[in-house]
Amino acid sequence: MEKSLIQLIEVLGYRCLAGQVRTDRMVHWGYVSDLLSDVMGKAQPGMVWITSQVHSNIVAVAALKEVAAIIVVNERQIDPDVLAQAEKEGVVILSSGMPAFETAGRLYAQLKSD
């Protein structure tokens, strides 16, 4: 079932690193990839994108594809310039604090449940 980013943050304990004001966005599904062209080809609006990439190009990809949010895994540190760019482009960046497998698994369970 579709959930808002706010609901997901609350239930799954994500930290919001950028785009706090846009966390009312709805999420219907997710996509996991560290290959940017793969995300450019396959991600759809209303999906969250789970990745371990943290360089500035993730912001451009997320903005162009209009994904609901980027979920960065494993407590990866993100450069303040990247976060500032995300704020400017209206991109939400969340940190899951978990590896990609757990991040995707828990999110999948949430989006599948009623």
Binding site: L35, S37, M40, Q53, V61, L64, E66
Partner: protein, 139 residues
């Protein structure tokens, strides 16, 4: 309406700037969001190709009420084998570029999937030219 953007080879922090500008412009017009996203994907991939492979390039955009016509031209090493470059999974990107998540060999196939017409030509040692056309009203 015509626009032109400069693309700097090797500057990954600026990659996507030209495509984002074009997308913002398109959003001001009454064009289907699906079509706008297709164009954005095609242009981003073409722009990243210049950043990842060439020394410098330009993106020239011509916008009419019916379609968008884009030419991305670069000075760079060119493409030795265009058929091979069009294959999914084939890439000549450097290890450093791959580490960033580029160079998956999906750029040109993504462009082809997201535009209505595409022409790619290249002179090895000189550069590459890609021409992309997308019609606003699918027919």
């Amino acid at each position: 309406m015509k626009m032109q953007y400069h693309i700097e080879g090797g500057n990954f922090s600026a990659a996507g700037r030209a495509s984002s500008e074009v997308k913002k412009t398109l959003k001001q017009f009454n064009i289907s969001p699906v079509v706008v996203r297709r164009i954005a994907v095609a242009l981003y991939e073409a722009e990243v190709n210049v950043v990842a492979h060439a020394w410098r390039g330009t993106m020239s955009v011509e916008l009419t009420p019916e379609d968008i016509h884009v030419v991305v031209e670069d000075e760079g090493p060119g493409i030795e084998d265009i058929d091979k470059a069009m294959e999914e999974g084939y890439s000549t990107a450097s290890e450093a570029v791959r580490q960033m998540g580029f160079g998956a060999g999906m750029g040109l196939p993504n462009i082809r999937k997201n535009c209505d017409e595409m022409h790619l030509s290249s002179t090895p040692g000189r550069g590459t030219r890609i021409e992309i056309k997308v019609y606003f009203n699918a027919f």
